[in-house]
C-alpha cells in the first residue's frame, strides 16, 4: 500500500495556526512539548531515586516530595500529540517501522546521531525555556520579543552547521 502524500505546507500551517489559536483561547497559553519531556525525565529519575529529585532544585520544583511530575496538563498535551500523530500516520498509511536518514549513512550512524541531536535539543530547550513549539510557535504568535530572537537563533544555528553535516542528509 502506497502511503498518501503530505498535505500542502501552507494548508498545514493554517491548520496549525487554528490549533495554536484554540490553545490560547481555551488555556491562556499556546502549544508545547519540552515541558512535558522534562517532566517525563523527572518522573523517570524519581522512579529510580526519589531522593535525588528532592535534592536537585530544578527537579524538585516539578516532582519533589508528594508532587507527581506527570500529573500536569502539559503531559496530557504530549500524550495527545502522540495520539494525533499515531492516528494520522495510520489513516494515511505512514505507520511503518523504519529509520529516516540520508542515503550515505548507516542505520547505526543515524541512530547514534539522533541520540546526540536529541540530547542537544533537550538541553537547549531547557536552556532557552522552551522548544520550537513552546517558544517559536507560541511566543512568535503573541509577538514575544524573546521568542522571535530564539526562532532566528534556531534557524541560524542549523544553517551554520548544515553544510558541515551535509553527508548525513544528502
Amino acid at each position: 500500500m502506497q502511503s498518501k502524500p503530505y498535505i500542502n505546507p501552507y494548508l498545514a500551517g493554517a491548520l496549525l495556526g487554528v490549533v495554536l489559536f484554540s490553545a490560547f483561547a481555551l488555556t491562556h497559553s499556546g502549544l508545547g512539548a519540552s515541558g512535558a519531556i522534562s517532566r517525563i525525565q523527572v518522573a523517570a529519575t524519581a522512579g529510580v531515586a526519589q531522593s535525588h529529585v528532592d535534592r536537585v532544585g530544578y527537579f524538585a520544583a516539578v516532582g519533589g516530595g508528594d508532587r507527581h511530575a506527570l500529573d500536569h496538563s502539559s503531559v496530557m498535551m504530549l500524550v495527545g500529540t502522540f495520539a494525533g500523530g499515531l492516528l494520522s500516520a495510520w489513516r494515511n498509511r505512514r505507520l511503518k517501522v523504519e529509520v529516516c536518514k540520508g542515503p550515505q549513512i548507516s542505520n547505526t550512524t543515524r541512530l547514534a546521531l539522533a541520540l546526540v541531536g536529541g540530547v542537544l535539543m533537550g538541553f537547549g530547550a531547557r536552556f532557552a525555556r522552551g522548544c520550537t513549539s513552546g517558544q517559536a510557535l507560541s511566543g512568535g504568535a503573541v509577538l514575544s520579543a524573546g521568542s522571535w530572537v530564539f526562532m532566528f537563533a534556531v534557524f541560524g544555528g542549523a544553517y551554520l552547521v548544515a553544510w558541515f553535516v551535509r553527508k548525513l542528509w544528502n
Binding site: L16, M77, K101, R110, L160
Partner: protein, 393 residues
C-alpha cells in the same frame, strides 16, 4: 469572552482540553510531514522549505486570529501568556537547538509524532531529549547566573520597536509573506536550476491568500486595540463582583501590614490632586494622574512586577478609585487593590496610638500590635502565578 478558563471546570475537563489540543497539534504535524526527519532536514539544504512555510503560516494565522479577536473585544490579550524574554539564554539555547535539529533531524514536538509513526530515529531522538533535559537539570546550578539574566517579564516586539500592536502585526505579516515568496523562488531554483527564472507566483490561491492575510493585518491596525474603557465594557463583568463585594478594598491596617512585609513588593499610586499630595502623602506613594494609567510605558512597568508585587491605589474619591482600578485591571495588572476610603480614615485611625511617636507617613509594624486582631478582614491574596504559566516552564 476568551480566553476561557478550563481549569475552573475541574481537572478532567481541563486535561481533556489539553489532550484535544495536543491531538490536533500531533495530527497537523504528521499531515505536514514533520514526522519524517528527511523532510525536516531538507529545509537546511534549501530543497524543501516546508518547515519554514508551515511554521510561519502557523504563526501568522494564530497571530492574526489573536489580534483580530482582541481588536474587536472578544479576547483579552492581557490574559494571554506571553513567553518571558530571557534574551541571551534564549539566543544561546536557540543556537544549541539549531545544531541539535540539523544533527538529530527533529525538534522535541516533531520527534513525538515521528515516534508515534514507528520511526526508530524519532524514538531514539525523543529519548535523547529526555536525557538532555536531565543533563540540564543536573548542571544548571553551574550557570544559573547567566541563565536568569537579561530578563523581561512581558516584552512584546511592539514594545521593543516602539510600534503600535497593529503596526507590528502588519510588519510580521509582511515579513512572513516575504519569507514565503523567497521560499517559493528558492525551491524553484534548486528543483529546476535549468528552467528560466521567473519573478511571478503562478498559484492564484497563494496570491489571494496573501492578499487576505495582509487585508486582515491592515484591518487590525486601522481598528486599533480597544481602549481600557472599551475593554471594561467587554470584559468588566467578570471583575465587577470583586468591586461589589468590596474584595479589593484594603483596610489601612492591612496596608500597613503589607508595607512592612519584606516579602511583598508594594507599589502605591496616589491619585489625589498635587496640593493634597504635597500636604501629606504616604512615604511609599508616588503621585500619578488618571491619564497616566492609560500610558503604555507606565502600565508596562506595572506588568513587569513579580508575583509578590502588590499595587494599591490611593484617592479620597471612591468613584475615581474604582475607575482607576477598572482601567488598570483590564490592562493586565494583577494583585491590584484600593485603599479603603483613601486617606480620610488615616489620621483618626492612628490617633489613639499617637503616644508611640511614629511618622504617620510610614507607620511601623509595631503599631499593629495596638489594634485587635479582628480589626480588619484580610483582602490581599497574592496570586502565585501571574497568568497561566507557559507549558515549557
Amino acid at each position: 469572552m476568551f480566553p476561557l478558563d478550563m481549569a475552573a471546570h475541574g481537572k478532567s475537563i481541563n486535561y481533556a482540553t489539553f489532550f484535544a489540543i495536543g491531538f490536533g497539534f500531533g495530527t497537523v504535524l504528521e499531515l505536514a510531514g514533520f514526522g519524517n526527519a528527511r523532510k525536516l532536514a531538507a529545509q537546511f539544504y534549501l530543497k524543501d522549505m516546508t518547515v519554514l512555510k508551515t511554521m510561519f503560516t502557523g504563526i501568522l494565522t494564530a497571530c492574526l486570529l489573536i489580534f483580530f479577536t482582541a481588536s474587536i473585544g472578544y479576547l483579552d490579550f492581557s490574559k494571554i501568556f506571553v513567553n518571558q524574554t530571557y534574551l541571551w539564554p534564549g539566543l544561546i539555547g536557540g543556537l544549541v537547538m539549531g545544531v541539535g535539529f540539523v544533527i538529530g533531524g527533529y525538534c522535541p514536538g516533531t520527534s513525538v509524532v515521528s515516534a508515534a509513526s514507528f520511526k526508530l530515529d524519532g524514538i531514539v531522538f525523543f529519548i535523547g531529549t529526555i536525557l538532555g533535559a536531565g543533563v540540564f537539570g543536573e548542571t544548571v546550578d553551574q550557570f544559573s547566573g547567566f541563565w536568569n539574566a537579561s530578563y523581561t517579564e512581558r516584552l512584546l516586539l511592539s514594545d521593543w520597536f516602539g510600534w503600535s500592536l497593529g503596526a507590528t502585526v502588519v510588519g510580521v505579516t509582511l515579513l512572513a509573506l516575504t519569507f514565503f515568496y523567497a521560499a517559493e523562488k528558492t525551491e524553484q531554483y534548486f528543483r529546476t536550476p535549468d528552467a528560466p527564472f521567473s519573478w511571478k507566483i503562478g498559484n492564484r490561491v497563494y496570491v489571494a491568500s496573501a492578499g487576505v492575510a495582509l487585508a486582515v493585518a491592515l484591518g487590525i491596525w486601522l481598528n486599533g486595540q480597544p481602549t481600557p474603557e472599551q475593554k471594561w465594557q467587554h470584559i468588566g463583568v467578570q471583575y465587577q463582583s470583586l468591586l461589589d463585594k468590596r474584595e479589593v478594598f484594603v483596610h489601612p491596617l492591612e496596608y500597613v501590614k503589607t508595607w512592612n512585609d519584606s516579602a511583598v513588593k508594594l507599589v502605591t499610586l496616589d491619585l489625589r490632586p498635587k496640593a493634597e499630595f504635597d500636604a501629606f502623602h504616604l512615604d511609599s506613594a508616588q503621585r500619578v494622574t488618571f491619564d497616566q494609567l492609560a500610558d503604555k510605558d507606565f502600565v508596562f512597568e506595572l506588568d513587569q512586577l513579580p508575583p509578590q508585587g502588590v499595587v494599591v491605589l490611593v484617592t479620597n474619591d471612591e468613584a475615581e478609585a474604582v475607575r482607576a482600578w477598572q482601567r488598570l485591571k483590564v490592562q493586565g495588572v494583577t494583585n491590584l487593590y484600593i485603599l479603603e476610603h483613601g486617606l480620610r480614615d488615616w489620621e483618626p485611625l492612628f490617633s489613639h496610638v499617637a503616644s508611640l511617636h511614629f511618622d504617620l507617613a510610614k507607620p511601623p509594624a509595631k503599631v499593629l500590635e495596638q489594634f485587635p486582631k479582628d480589626a480588619y478582614t484580610i483582602k490581599i491574596k497574592l496570586k502565585t502565578s501571574r497568568r497561566a504559566a507557559g507549558l515549557c516552564s
